[in-house]
């Protein structure tokens, strides 16, 4: 019986697979520990109240060793503003694309467009960032010029619109999956009662797929908030506390990059601030992800 694997080998290999699976846990713990550790060091130098409620972001350390200008509110509002613009672009058009592909498009058209959208979702965000900075910003400025509006070259509108285009393929593939996986008897039942396709979609399919559509929305939102390259290249560093999309604002991710691409002394409050911001980003996206992956599941009805 030489050709049989010995039992010990069998057990060793199984244990190896178990260790592999543990690595995912270790990474999560590692992210939390490294972010939390450095963030706690940061909050020992800068008070958490100043950080979460301060209105001015101009981080520097005075010669006396006092760290000032760490009010992160402008970063949070900036992130919210750009994300809002992006979602205003991505949600309606992404939803309509999903509806069209799932309910109206011919099977051939769907077979071509679905992989195309998936491929487009894989384009590096750097490419979108470059487009936003070099082409879309001047274009927006000339459009604004027609209406004699003044628009900053690094406006929130510019970064937001391009980010919306970036999220669109992601949003529409996720929503399309949600709609397409609905059982056919829902459609047949509704149309059999005389509803038009659009009435079926609006009154039967969308409510039925609502939890999955919500999950698609939340995952897209989490991606928009954590998106880095588009905003690094197209949004500014100026931390303006403004809700005007024509002005330049900055985001949490932009500031993490700018704080860490300079010198990297680990005891400096400026470097540690990046980890404070990173921790906030992690908590927000974690919350959205958990809500998307598990929270909405409770409302998911099983059809079929």
């Amino acid at each position: 019986m030489k050709h049989l694997y010995p039992i010990t080998l069998e057990r060793t290999i199984k244990f190896f697979f178990f260790l592999c699976a543990l690595s995912a846990v270790i990474i999560t713990v590692g992210i939390v520990a490294s972010l939390l550790g450095e963030a706690l060091r940061f909050f020992s130098q800068v008070s958490a109240i100043d950080f979460f409620f301060g209105l001015t972001w101009a981080p520097h350390v005075l010669p006396s060793g006092e760290a000032v200008g760490f009010g992160a509110i402008p970063l949070f509002t900036g992130t919210a503003l750009i994300t809002l613009v992006a979602m205003l672009i991505a949600v309606p058009s992404g939803g309509m694309i999903a509806i069209y592909l799932s309910e109206y498009a011919s099977p051939t058209m769907r077979q071509i467009l679905k992989p195309l959208l998936e491929t487009l979702a894989g384009i590096p965000t750097l490419v979108y960032g470059f487009f936003a900075a070099t082409t879309f910003a001047p274009f927006l400025q000339s459009v604004a010029g027609i209406f004699s509006l003044s628009i900053a070259s690094e406006s929130a509108l510019n970064a937001g619109i391009v980010m919306g285009i970036m999220i669109l393929p992601y949003m529409s593939t996720l929503s399309e999956d949600a709609l397409h996986s609905l059982p056919a008897n829902l459609r047949e039942g509704s149309m059999g009662l005389g509803a038009t396709p659009s009435e079926t979609i609006m009154k039967v399919l969308l409510p039925a797929a609502f939890p999955s559509l919500m999950a698609a929305f939340l995952l897209s939102l989490s991606r928009a908030i954590g998106e880095t390259m588009i905003v690094v290249m197209a949004a500014g560093l100026a931390a303006n506390l403004s809700f005007n999309p024509l002005q330049a604002v900055t985001t949490v991710t932009v500031q993490i990059v700018s704080l860490l691409t300079g010198d990297q002394e680990f005891d400096n409050a400026k470097t540690l601030a990046a980890f404070g911001l990173g921790f906030v980003l992690f908590i927000i996206t974690l919350f959205l992800n958990i809500l998307a992956l598990y929270g909405v599941k409770r409302y998911q009805r099983i059809y079929g």
Partner: protein, 352 residues
């Protein structure tokens, strides 16, 4: 009755066209971005040269004159001349020089050649001499590290979860962790890499090793999710038949389950590597942003990767850098299209 029906049908048509309109709008936008980059980037594949016999050393690239040897007939033009000759952008050129270029053009002493240097040179301070070779090699080393770490770990995790894991809370917790990690912003993996690999383990900073390990952390959950999907499509009758014939669980796994699921696994791995190849943000965190004018010869050497090089060029104020940036983006997109094409091909070829 008739009128309401008419109204409802009109609404139906409107709705349908709204969907088609959104789709076309999105495709136009994405096509526009692509066309824009092709339009801006293709001149990067060409280079302006001036005949050495013209003696116009003021129009040559300074670096080229320095290395000028006697038998060189054509010399690379300076960035300003290059920009003017290709795109008609006067830039910093004086009107006198522009007239001179027109004269050279009539005499046939200025020409456009394929810019092989763009592919064979590493980064340079001068846009007309800069190339993507260093970034390409760096990307290759980085991806190799990513593949060698994320592939065994990811596939191992997926096999454990799909084939061996007991259904208990701990398993469920591991699954929750993986699903969540797949949606964590990439920049946070950069922060983890900075703290763990550089400050805790003390690995050399802008190296392909650290970059690859950081990207491996990011790719791992994606590989796990896609591998599990591939493994779950293997019919249970196959496993039961093998087990019934006396195969051990591991024999069933390695002789039947993994080979059957392999096309699906490879597709997922290729797609996750493609994602890692285009990733920039986490690499900025671990200091790969520095200017590096040589190509790395090992995974411990200071290295840059193609996307980071693109990012650095995009921040440069020099005019020649815009076309270099677009050119490099084109190369990156072509590599990504190739990888995606491979993935689609594998999926189609083995689809049952």
């Amino acid at each position: 009755m008739r009128t309401t029906l008419k109204k409802r049908h009109r609404r139906e048509t409107l709705f349908r066209y709204l969907g088609l309109f959104s789709l076309l709008l999105a495709l136009t936008f994405l096509g526009g971005i692509f066309a824009n980059i092709v339009y801006k980037g293709y001149p990067a594949f060409f280079r302006t040269e001036i005949a050495a016999s013209s003696g116009r050393s003021d129009l040559f690239n300074a670096h080229s004159i320095y290395h000028k040897n006697e038998d060189l007939e054509w010399i690379t033009a300076s960035s300003d001349v290059d920009m003017y000759y290709k795109n008609g952008q006067a830039g910093k050129l004086s009107t006198q020089k522009i007239q001179d270029i027109q004269i050279l053009k009539k005499q046939g002493q200025i020409r456009l050649v394929l810019n092989t240097a763009f592919f064979t040179h590493s980064d340079s301070r001068e846009p007309e001499l800069a190339g993507i070779w260093g970034g390409l090699v760096g990307s290759l080393f980085t991806l190799a590290v990513t593949f060698l770490t994320a592939f065994p770990l990811g596939v191992g995790t997926a096999i454990y979860l799909e084939e061996f894991a007991p259904k208990n809370r701990f398993t469920h917790w591991i699954e929750a962790n993986i699903n969540n990690l797949a949606a964590v912003p990439s920049i946070l993996f950069g922060l983890l890499g900075l703290v763990f690999f550089i400050h805790f383990m003390g690995l050399p900073r802008p190296s392909a090793l650290v970059g690859g390990l950081t990207l491996a952390l990011m790719s791992l959950p994606v590989i796990v999710v896609s591998t599990r999907a591939a493994l779950s499509t293997v019919p249970s009758t196959l496993k039961e038949a093998a087990l019934g014939l006396g195969a051990t669980p591991l024999q069933v796994l390695f002789h039947h389950v993994v080979p059957t699921a392999l096309p699906g696994i490879m597709t997922g791995v290729i797609l996750s590597l493609a994602r890692a190849l285009g990733e920039t943000a986490p690499l900025l965190m671990i200091g790969m942003v520095a200017f590096i004018g040589t190509s790395p010869s090992s995974i411990l050497d200071p290295a840059t990767v193609l996307p980071v090089q693109i990012f650095n060029w995009s921040r440069s104020p020099e005019m020649g850098c815009v076309e270099n940036t677009s050119g490099a983006i084109l190369v990156l997109l072509m590599v990504l299209a190739f990888l995606n094409g491979c993935a689609v091909l594998i999926r189609k070829r083995f689809e049952t």
